[in-house]
Amino acid sequence: MDLDPEDVFKDEEDDPDNEFFQQSESSKEYVVYLVDASPKMFNTTCPGKDQKDEIHFHVSISCIAESLKTQIICRSYDEVAICFFNTREKKNLQDLNGVFVFNVAEREQLDRPTARLIKEFDCIEESFMREIGSQYGIVPGSRENSLYNALWVAQALLRKGSIKTADKRILLFTNEDDPFGSLQGAAKADMTRTTLQRAKDIQDLGISIELLPLIRLDEEFNVSVLYSDLIGLDSEDLAQFIPSAGQKLEDMKDQLRKRMFTKRIIRRITFHIVKGLSIQLNTYALIRPTVPGAITWLDSVTNRPLKIERSLICEDTGSLIQEPPKRFQPYRNENVKFSMDEISEIKRISTGHLRLLGFKPLCCLKDYHNLRPSTFVYPSDQEVVGSSCIFIALHRSMLRLKRFAVAFYGGSSRPQLVALVARDEITTAGGQMEPPGMHMIYLPYSDDIRDAEEIFPDTEDDAPRADKDQIQKAAALIKRIEMKDFSVFQFANPALQRHYAVLQALALEEDDIPETIDETVPDEEGLARPAVVKAIEEFKLSVYGDNYDEENDHLGKEKVGGASRKRKEIAENAAKDYDWADLADNGQILLETLG
């Protein structure tokens, strides 16, 4: 059976060809993670989960590890290198002291992340002191400058590829705001000067340097000592940049992780506000379903990839059709033919821009006015100076007056009405939680909305409504089963996690598949607390009286027919009996790294 493997991860109506769900791979990203490994990184801690302190070095490593795991799923064409400085050992092409480039077999220093890289990096902390070692690289009386060396090595790693096709970035993790603090006089000035010059040269090549500072509870990270000059912050950025001291570790981690992603614009669009007033907006996909990557068919004998050739055959004559065929729709007893040009002409009903039609109170946007994930829009003055100013003015008015904008978005795939909902920025100690801007929500047309709730009342009687007591009991229940700090970022997708755990295990030829946890199951323990049980019982009694069991039985039982029970058993047994090592030995699992 040639089922599309992605089928299992989507519901029927998702269209995999829809450009909407696809991520562009047109621009690659090359990243060098530059991690300070000085003793200070190992001595300094910040309070983490469960009041346990975590050392800065560990925080950096786990952030990178996490980002690598996301990257191999979402953006596996991006290339990375991991480089430590202030190390005892050295390993780099330039043979510079105090710099160690971490790598694994079958991989260039700057390359796509592999399963092995992820796995070995995950346990680097165990062997770090033994094999790489931590040691201050800038000490009085020595001409060594490990920061300078590190930048040089990073620059050399990023020599690959053109700046036109790739974003190049250096992400610098450190907790030392004054790396030359131990030096005096001319030596200090000299080193500062050469290091800044090196950084400037790097930036002139189009490579950006980003600082990810780690901070202690009692101490501020003073960016203006050196790094503001090094990474080229101006005063406005500066105020925004400095994270407050005393941040919680989770916040810091969160913030670091966010900064590691670069924004990708999906589209630049023109927004017609009124006649003669059109501004420029960039659109971003902040929320999109992540699905496992496309499958590649392999020849099971050679493990070489297969190419798929599609041919169109005329059913009447059996001959091959070369030219793109016309389409037809049977209608009124005949086949009405359309050329592809005609079809695209039919769909072209607008200019492809976003056109403002008016405003409505927020309450007009109903829960059922939704079709797809929203798209974020943010203004840009790049082409039209003044865009941001109008956008911000409208944004503020809309927030204040509690209105959303209705606009027509005339894209080629599905021109449609959209709601633009303004959101104010939300920041916490951990940084930005919600960016300022507008969210474009795709609105349904009349034929997209169904009225299934109206199909059943077949009688003359009114529908039953809950009485006061029942509502009160329900309210008591709601209070008992409350998730106070629920956030939508709470759960990992268990199916996706499982899929990647399996892939990683197979790719690394491991015998065991690591356990994945399904975080989405209900908190049975919490639900079994006496107070909760009592609230549920009271609600049940108020609605069902004593008849709950009999009323609910007939449906539940009849549903599990013989066939489905059998199917379940087979599936359970299959999983139990599977022996991975055995399968691998018998050659049923074919493992090979493809280029």
Partner: protein, 691 residues
């Protein structure tokens, strides 16, 4: 699937007060049949019009009465003729009685299907319900309607009433309207009927669901609050995109004359080795590989099945949380509807109690759902209460899918407050924006909300079915232009813009946009698309543009850039003849239209009317010359309504006396009006003596 067929009778009011919207009624009804011809070929449809001069129906023959009602088409399986009938509805001459029409329609359904057919039977009434219904012989009208309602339910019929009101219907006697509304509401209360009120042509096109979709449950089973309490629910889709039809590929290999040719195309896939494209790899030798970074990991289906994620079917409550914790833009998908198991009173009560408590407390529920056994993923989503406004319909919930961690990209954006002061709006600018947002209101209180999704048709699909119908008659028919009514979905509403002209102008005045001069030329995209400003102040950029073009055009005529106040007709004519840029014609027409409207609204005691009529005549001539009837005809229809609303009678009189008609088909092929209709517009526009 005989039970799945629908028997439908359309009851269409064609009386004089409906003439203005009959083009829309024709469009929406023929679309309904066009879609049935594709998706529900076995459905049967009958057509009844009322408000006609003539009378032709069985009830009149049998019992007398029921005058001015014509059965245009007996109930029959849908076919092309039906579309032709619906596209040319007769224009009636008397005010119709919708109750009589309902009786005639019911009678048709009963006679045809009594006892034999138990499937879907439906009446669809389109009227403005502003004329009195006849008194019944015995009992009150309410009693009569009550009897009809009982009969309707007994016969298993549904009724859908679309009542056209507001600017679409003349000011009518309020007492009669209220009575009619009351009568219609009896149907809604006592039968499976629904009544919707529309007051714009767009919502008339959107109000009638033209595609009949049989709802299918996504899930039937328990909503588990906990192990101890489960509520039986059914889950449906509340919204689902109606897609552009998937057209089959057509093969032209077989001769088109061949009777037996299917013209179908088979798509064949061959899997070949990358290294050796001569060998085809058989299915059993193929294995799926999954990418993990640069690696491709082969996994057979058996292996995958053994280790994949296999959750149990079920819908479980994770907990409740504040509605404010779920921001609207996190909704990932189209919407689901949770209803209690139909007929299960306890379940309906349980859903009702929770929904109402959630609403009161402003809470939502978080659920984990596995819709089917064997599904390999779970969804976590948000359940929100839907408190029913209709006594007959139980309370229910809406549900939408929320993102997992992997689905969220946490990009950071600069805070607006961090922008340089020059990028931020000053006080005046903010005031102009506030006023703009306030005034350009699509949902003013007391009026129908414009562009309500429920009533907004999909313009692309409308265009496709229109083109399909054209092509079935003439295979090489060109793609028709977008329907003028539907353009209002894609473009700002001129009336609204016009009403708020000062606000719009003030916005333009307060904000200045500049092309970024530092950008390379190739990167500029906005310049040519910048719409031309019609009223001077904001059009500076365009003027210089136009001059540049002129110097190449080398035409010695005086360059008229805009229509001035002194000689609007001449300015218009000069602009229309400019050939140095094809945009001039559009600009001239637009400016002329704006000029006419401003003449009319700024007229004191009719002092501008004569100039306005001159302008209209010039515009008419120009539009015929350019074969662009749309802008002119729309303007005229708008003026007609405008005058009606403002009770201006002198201007229409003036127009009538000058014989200014709509542009008809014979004058410009794209017009929707026959000569007769174009002329009748004049009759309509002449103010009728009010009684």
């Amino acid at each position: 699937m005989a039970r799945n067929k629908e028997k439908l009778v359309l009851l269409l009011d064609v009386g004089p007060s409906m003439h203005g919207v009959l083009p829309e009624v024709e469009k929406v009804c023929s679309m309904l049949v066009e879609k049935k011809l594709i998706f529900n070929k076995d459905d049967e449809v009958g057509v009844v019009v009322f408000g006609t001069e003539e009378t032709n129906n069985e009830l009149m023959d049998e019992v007398g009465g029921y005058e001015n009602i014509v059965v245009l088409q007996d109930i029959k399986v849908v076919d092309g003729d039906l579309i032709d009938i619906l596209k040319k509805l007769p224009r009636g001459t008397v005010d119709g009685d919708f109750l009589d029409a309902i009786v005639v329609g019911m009678d048709m359904l009963i006679k045809k299907y009594k006892g034999i057919y138990k499937g879907k039977k439906r009446l669809c009434l389109i009227t403005n319900a502003i004329h009195p219904t006849k008194d019944s012989l015995e009992g009150s009208k309410e009693d009569q309607v009550g009897t009809l309602a009982v009969q309707m339910t007994a016969q298993g019929m549904k009724m859908e009433s679309i009542v056209v009101r507001g600017i679409l219907s003349q000011d009518a006697n309020k007492r009669i309207m209220d009575e009619n509304d009351r009568l219609l509401s009896i149907f809604s209360k006592k039968t499976r009927s629904r009544t919707v009120y529309v007051d714009s042509p767009i919502s008339l096109l959107g109000a009638l669901k033209t595609r009949r979709v049989t709802p299918v449950t996504v899930f039937r089973g328990h909503l588990e609050l906990s192990q101890q309490m489960k509520i039986k629910v059914w889950v449906y889709k509340k919204t689902q995109e109606e897609k552009f039809p998937t057209l089959k590929k057509y093969s032209e290999k077989a001769p088109s004359t061949s009777k037996f040719a299917t013209h179908q195309v088979m798509v064949d896939y061959e899997y070949k080795s990358v290294d050796d494209s001569s060998t085809v790899v058989p299915p059993e030798q193929r294995i799926k590989g999954y990418r993990y970074g640069p690696q491709v990991v082969p996994i057979s289906d058996a292996e995958r099945d053994a280790v994949k994620f296999k959750p149990e079917k079920g819908v479980k409550l994770l907990g409740f949380t504040d509605a404010s914790n779920i921001i609207r833009h996190y909704y990932m998908k189209d919407v689901y509807l949770f209803i209690a198991e139909p007929g299960n009173t306890r379940a309906i009560l349980a859903v009702s109690a929770i929904a109402r408590a959630m609403k009161e407390m402003n809470k939502v529920a978080i659920l984990r759902c596995v819709w089917r056994q064997g599904q390999q993923n779970v969804v976590v989503g948000v359940l929100t209460p839907n408190i029913s406004q209709n006594n007959k319909i139980p309370d229910s919930f809406y549900f939408n899918v929320l993102p997992f961690i992997e689905d969220v990209r946490e990009y950071q954006f600069p805070s607006f407050n961090s922008f340089p002061a020059s990028w931020l709006p000053n006080e005046q600018q903010q005031m102009a924006a506030d006023e703009f947002v306030q005034m350009l209101n699509l949902a003013p209180s007391g009026k129908e909300e414009a562009l309500l999704p429920e009533f907004t048709p999909n313009p692309v699909l409308e265009r496709f079915y229109h083109h399909l119908e054209l092509k079935s008659k003439q295979p090489d028919a060109a793609v028709p232009p977008l329907d003028e009514t539907l353009k209002r979905i894609t473009e700002p509403d001129l009336e609204l813009d016009f009403e708020n002209k000062s606000v719009l102008d003030s916005l333009c005045k307060h904000f200045e946009l500049k092309e970024n001069s530092k950008l390379k030329k190739s990167a500029r995209r906005l310049l040519p698309e910048k719409p031309s400003g019609s009223n001077g102040e904001d059009g500076n950029g365009n003027v210089s543009d136009a001059r540049a073009v002129d110097s190449i055009g080398q035409e010695p005529v005086v360059k008229i850039e805009k229509i001035g106040d002194l000689t609007p007709v001449q300015d218009f004519e000069v602009m229309m003849t400019r050939r140095d840029n094809p945009e001039w014609v559009g600009k001239a027409i637009r400016e002329m239209r704006d000029k006419i409207l401003s003449l009319l609204t700024n007229s004191h005691g009719g002092d501008n009317y004569l100039v306005a009529v001159e302008c209209i005549i010039a515009l008419r001539k120009g539009c015929i010359l350019e074969q662009e009837p749309g802008p002119y005809n729309n303007l005229m229809r708008y003026l007609y309504r405008y005058c009606q609303e403002k009770e201006i009678s002198t201007f229409p009189k003036l127009l009538a006396s000058m014989d200014v008609t709509l542009i008809s088909k014979s004058e410009a092929v794209d017009s929707n009006f026959t000569d007769d209709e174009a002329r009748r517009f004049l009759d309509k526009i002449k103010p009728e003596p009010k009684d």
